[in-house]
Symmetry: C2
Subunit: 347 residues, 2 copies
Amino acid sequence: MGYRQLVLTLPVLGALVFVIGPIRAADTELRAQALSIFRPLLKNTSTTPDSVASRQVRLGRLLYFDPRASADGTVSCARCHQPALYGADGLPKSIGAEHRVHPRHAPTVLNAAIQFVQHWRGDRTSVEDQAMKALVAPPSYGNPSYESAIARIKAIPGYPTLFAQAFPGQTDAVTPENWGKAVGAYVRTLVTPSPFDGFLTGDDSAMSTSAQAGLRAFMQIGCAGCHNGAGVGGTMYQKFGVTEPYWNATGSGTVDKGRYDVTSDAADIYVFKVPTLRNVAMTPPYFHDGSVATLPEAVRVMARVQLGRTLTELEVRDLAAFLESLTGPLPDDFATIPTLPTAGGGR
Amino acid sequence: MGYRQLVLTLPVLGALVFVIGPIRAADTELRAQALSIFRPLLKNTSTTPDSVASRQVRLGRLLYFDPRASADGTVSCARCHQPALYGADGLPKSIGAEHRVHPRHAPTVLNAAIQFVQHWRGDRTSVEDQAMKALVAPPSYGNPSYESAIARIKAIPGYPTLFAQAFPGQTDAVTPENWGKAVGAYVRTLVTPSPFDGFLTGDDSAMSTSAQAGLRAFMQIGCAGCHNGAGVGGTMYQKFGVTEPYWNATGSGTVDKGRYDVTSDAADIYVFKVPTLRNVAMTPPYFHDGSVATLPEAVRVMARVQLGRTLTELEVRDLAAFLESLTGPLPDDFATIPTLPTAGGGR
């Protein structure tokens, strides 16, 4: 039974399926195909509670939420990657220290660590590299130098001791590299398995019929050619706008040459990292420039400019249902905010 | 036994006290005196889970954490009243929409509702009034008008329904007044009983000996003349700098005429609301201008400019220990962040 036939027959089959349960043969075949393209997401549980690694995670969690390391005292990682907005900030383009506008949209921090590079243009190699450089990036923390950033952190009673405990054996552990390592260690724990992973690992009822139809379409239409792996993305670069200029389809009218501005290689014009689609339903607006407000419209634009295809409304609905199955619950240590060392509480 | 003798004898008594327990007579007398000045803080548990009131609280909690109602999309209540910084922001003066600097320091939102008026100059009558007016205050949410603020809220799928459920029977429930009521309803739940309340309600071991000595000093020296009631403050106005100009003692050099600028009454020159001292140890820097970085220095300044008194270092230490006993655990619904309605997630 083909995809289109299955979809068209579904209303008729509805009551029957409800009685006899999901169509197991179709589930099994769909799962097998999906497992050839995607991988289930596993929570990182590698550190023991009293290990150095877990001390780095705990320190990183404090640093993640602490705005006092920024030039104007208002920017923490959580400013552009807010728990309340699923690790993003809801803005087309983020706004950092001293109200400087970031050139691109803030992607969610959730599952960021499993991507092969960071940032839309891949100019950050890892979450550790990203975190460290954020300290001195003008539209982020905005510190004029690493020295001034580190001086801010050292001025907060509590942090020097916590750094020393998390990085034992170092004479002066409060360094930009260790800041990046600690924040990165925390960010690596921010992984969100979702109903899709339940389906991949054998639970037929984890995804709705619509989401399963969407998964099938996602693979058949070609989306999975780029959005694959455990992150459903985050494994490669790709040109945005294969069949037509993206800025026409999104309506932004604004051109960003993407990775070309990093490499000066003509092959990289309009090339961006293919982002993970994990939690994409929770993190509008969409694309590197935040130019599209809704998930269905983002799906339509992608099919049009990457695959030259105009989707039916049923395809859009099913694809959106599949993408919604990539929404996992927030990690406890992200939804719950730590209490920071108090500034100046000492004597 | 007098206060000073008691303190001086303590090192000798230490081991004995450890064996025979706290000095019960002194506790009882201290508690009786304290209960004539202060009141224990009780958690607000007045709403039933399915009531209209609890729907207002739940809606208010979402609104509290949502930056999308602000002019530049970066300011929520949580921007200047962060859970990680105990309901404050760690800055001398807050920074709001479009990087506008607030004229005064952000006090903690915790227990704010029990104060007799809001803001340092009392120009907000209640937490509801404060929340509503924040929508259009330039250094806060920065919206040019209530209309534009409400338009932003209505544009987020989910909120119109939540407002209608929280304010039943209204044709159009998304109003500035209801925004203020919902946020206020949530803020009224942010109450933090602390070891001091344990002591007041009969637990002799809730406060350390030093904190008990600090409580005694707090009443004897005269601090409790203004800082009293359930909030240990928040019950009256008072001139800041009774015995000498505050800006000399704090070192700020900057003069704020306080409530005079609201009332134009000469009696109100340098008059401010006496703030609650609940959680004061967790919310540096201090005073309306954030001009003092540490709690002990804030204690010294207050004794000097309000009471004309130079404290001994032991008095400062004990007073700080008492003030630390006013730190209560964060309410669960404040330390844990809600997931907001997604913007544009609909179809």
